[in-house]
Subunit: 177 residues, 2 copies
Amino acid sequence: MQGPHEVVVLRYGHRPGRDDRMTTHVGLTARALGADRVLLPDNATQAAETIADITGRFGGPFAVEQSDSQQGIVRNWDGPIAHLTMYGQPIQDVESDVRSSLETGPLLVVVGGEKVPFELYEHADWNIGVTNQPHSEVAGLAVFLDRLFEGRELDEEWLDADRTVIPKETGKKVIPV
Amino acid sequence: MQGPHEVVVLRYGHRPGRDDRMTTHVGLTARALGADRVLLPDNATQAAETIADITGRFGGPFAVEQSDSQQGIVRNWDGPIAHLTMYGQPIQDVESDVRSSLETGPLLVVVGGEKVPFELYEHADWNIGVTNQPHSEVAGLAVFLDRLFEGRELDEEWLDADRTVIPKETGKKVIPV
């Protein structure tokens, strides 16, 4: 989204096969709900291709990148870091601080897979729980982004799409652009 | 959540194996974000068991049910029906109407799988898009519930849990209850 600094989602950990759809959904959710980029592990090529394909058809700007060192990205990040985890502080208590931090530098939003190292908890500026209940990293990311952008992401315009969906009360309408 | 009428999530369609995790995440998201029940297809037994197991450990009230006729549930539902679809009307335009409808009867929230019949679009009181972009039924459900309950679901208390997570700035804390 347009803003002083970008919002980047880092998918931490990926098991090829088993995690393909979840990682794809993390990336598509990041795109649809206002993040500027998603960083995936090197072994998540299938998810990366699907997300890039959707961006090509439905528009951007949105970037998909792969990296062999997620720990390196976290260690070297020059800006605030928010780690989504069911063990963290309630999102309703910290969301305004995170929003303010967007004035200071690019925000890295870390979405864990099965295992994340303890170092990540220490490195993060906030460990944030969207409830302290076990549910879904995709759901947590969605609520986080909707609150971070206070709903403005829902009115985002998409550039360079080759098709667009026209909202309808009943049925489906897709037009070429 | 406590309210005049219950909120029930219907997972429409499920392919065993391929959809197990997505259907599980739909159910866990429904539970964590304030719905009262989730209705799954008959062939989603593995997801149903996982959701029931989490409810047993982390608390309720929350019910998981399976049915062999999702079309029958929709046809016979005595209350408002909201169908989440990327082709629908923007959530920000209809959410207050949906919220008001909770005064009139139990709300059925339909979350599609790959294919939903056209009849569902006609039967729904609202076809609702959380953006008109392709992303994730889990993400759409999460944003829908957070907006429906205006964040009150984040403060929900859980009964009959055998453990609870204590929010922490860093690390993990789980205590028996």
